[in-house]
Symmetry: C2
Subunit: 144 residues, 2 copies
């Protein structure tokens, strides 16, 4: 046997597992809203400020049009947003929330508490974790 890396020593695997476990906790709650986790992320972006272009949304979430175009079509099919070609720049598609889309934020308010409750970490630990992950993500993006 060689000096193969150990699974349980890998930060990358720890991130991968924690991320999947976290979305798994969100899944049943989001299912009540009829959303997947990535769809919920897009709605978060739109609830903060809309209308937004596809590219803007992608920059917030780190996703490209290959992921977002079909996802936004599904949100439109759900009646939560509308895709309108911009008048000034015909390349742009502005994503507007519908009344139903805005309404949904009311039901989404309590969602982040779920994770906090299930996390088994103190508020300070969660806060520090978020901060460390933010630094890590930024550094990894620079490296990439």
């Amino acid at each position: 046997m060689t000096d193969a890396p150990r699974l349980d020593h890998q930060v990358c695997f720890a991130l991968y597992s924690a991320s999947r476990a976290a979305t798994a906790v969100y899944r049943p709650v989001l299912e009540e809203l009829g959303l997947t986790y990535p769809q919920y992320l897009v709605m978060l972006v739109l609830w903060e400020n809309e209308p937004r272009g596809v590219k803007e949304i992608g920059e917030e979430l780190g996703l490209d049009s290959g992921t977002l175009s079909p996802l936004l079509k599904r949100l439109e099919a759900l009646g939560l947003c509308e895709r309108r070609r911009s008048g000034e720049d015909e390349r742009r598609v502005a994503i507007h929330l519908t009344p139903a889309g805005r309404e949904l934020s009311r039901n989404a308010g309590a969602i982040p508490q779920r994770l906090a409750q299930a996390a088994g970490l103190t508020a300070e630990e969660l806060d520090q974790l978020r901060h460390t992950l933010g630094r890590l993500t930024a550094a990894l993006h620079d490296a990439h």
Copy 2:
């Protein structure tokens, strides 16, 4: 506007982003080995101990047969492993490494260093992060 949750306050999004950024750093390195990140994880499990059943591998990684069955077929097509029906229990499929599969671990030894270098965190910070993520993942699984 309502009290919609803020994207940048969400630990779940921080995990999701960090996880994708980390696998993005691994991707070009793994591409040289001809592996995706989940395939690399399966190889890590097998390098540690083989043969293994599909279920065992799934328990290590938190993946089910719906994900692993096609993934293992692709690893077999790459000539890295073989799937053999167990004699004692005909339901089981034992995954054996081929010589090429074992050989690959030689080239994989330096991979985890990549992330450590790109992470922009100290060794202690990475260690603590891994530990916190481990606790978090365990708690989230309990909650789920």
